[in-house]
Symmetry: C2
Subunit: 214 residues, 2 copies
């Protein structure tokens, strides 16, 4: 029917997907021209849908937060506390939650964003508490440790760069290599690890501060 709307919707999806990819590759200086080109869409069309670059990134943030919430809910739905937590971490890392980090502080946080962020934090908190209760998660690990790990593993310099160089042939190998790292890290999260974690447990203020305007 509405072939016009169909196309518009397809363009919108392509734009958001391209924005995520370009953000991962170019980091903070991702340009709208690159995003539009990657989406196969004119710059003019991008600006009809989003009045400004910031608005596009805000929309992208909301979508990422929604994915994050959904993944946490799925993890809680798993009857096995450890499998639920591990699946959530794997999903978040592979989805690329960490790619949002470069724009933190550079865009204004909308009410919708902070609401969804709070909701996600609560879910993750429940997920971690449940794993602690079951005794499968090493007791000295905190929620912030896990958030930090997801962010740290979520940006793969190697994958980003290979993509930028157009070495798409090596991409599967690089992604697989990262999957191995995730497994290693997850094993380190299990109970019964030999070393005590050093230092004081990190607080939430680390993650709150970064979204403050610079």
């Amino acid at each position: 029917m509405a072939t016009r709307n169909d196309r518009a919707e397809r363009n919108d999806r392509a734009l958001l997907q391209a924005a995520r990819a370009v953000l991962a590759e170019d980091g903070a200086h991702a340009s709208v021209a690159t995003i539009a080109a990657r989406a196969g869409v004119g710059i003019g069309s991008l600006y009809r849908r989003y009045r400004t670059k910031e608005e596009l990134f805000q929309r992208l943030s909301v979508l990422s937060l929604e994915h994050w919430i959904e993944a946490a809910e799925q993890g809680l739905a798993d009857p096995d506390p450890w499998a639920g937590l591990a699946g959530f971490i794997k999903d978040s890392v592979e989805f690329g939650q960490g790619t949002m980090a470069p724009i933190a502080g550079a865009i204004e946080v909308t009410d919708e964003m902070s609401a969804k962020s709070r909701r996600g934090d609560d879910l993750l908190d429940a997920l971690v508490r449940r794993a602690h209760g079951a005794g499968t998660l090493r007791p000295d690990v905190t929620v912030t440790d896990i958030s930090l790990m997801i962010e740290q593993l979520g940006r793969s310099p190697l994958v980003d760069q290979l993509r930028k160089q157009g070495r798409d042939d090596l991409l599967p190998a690089a992604t697989q290599a990262r999957a191995r790292l995730i497994t290693i890290a997850l094993d380190g999260l299990r109970s019964g690890s030999p070393d005590r974690l050093p230092g004081d447990p990190p607080g939430e203020e680390l993650f709150i501060a970064r979204w403050a305007p610079s």
Copy 2:
């Protein structure tokens, strides 16, 4: 005595240190103006010492590789194979070896760079083989896995961004938080981990390709 040379040398050190810091914060689009300003040095002075931006980055690469080699030698000097490897990994991550990744492919690789890189690879290989022989390192982990882990942990988006925002008060907490992640990852590297690592072992071609000109 040679107060002139003294000052020049101090400037040079400040430049290199600033270059490393700015590279960590701004990534690929680190500008010479920013580097000079951070070092408290005029742009003109920077260009007396290094004919071009590329030359500065090449020098920085050599110094990083030298640190990498030295850390590996120290690790091999440790009589305990596991402690030697773990210390090497910790040192490399905290030194920030990963911050060099953004300029890979953007600068030409000098002969000195590739020679030192080869030397470092050999040392790391020996370090890993020794740990495997002692049985303390999980057998399915390869040298590439470890290189990748160092790079992945070596860039801390959180630390970089907090520094960019001038929240120096939170820096110690953020660094400490990363130290916890290193411990977790190291525990995951130990023998006796429950999960087999997924996928095929990654090959070296991943790291070789990235230094090729795009």
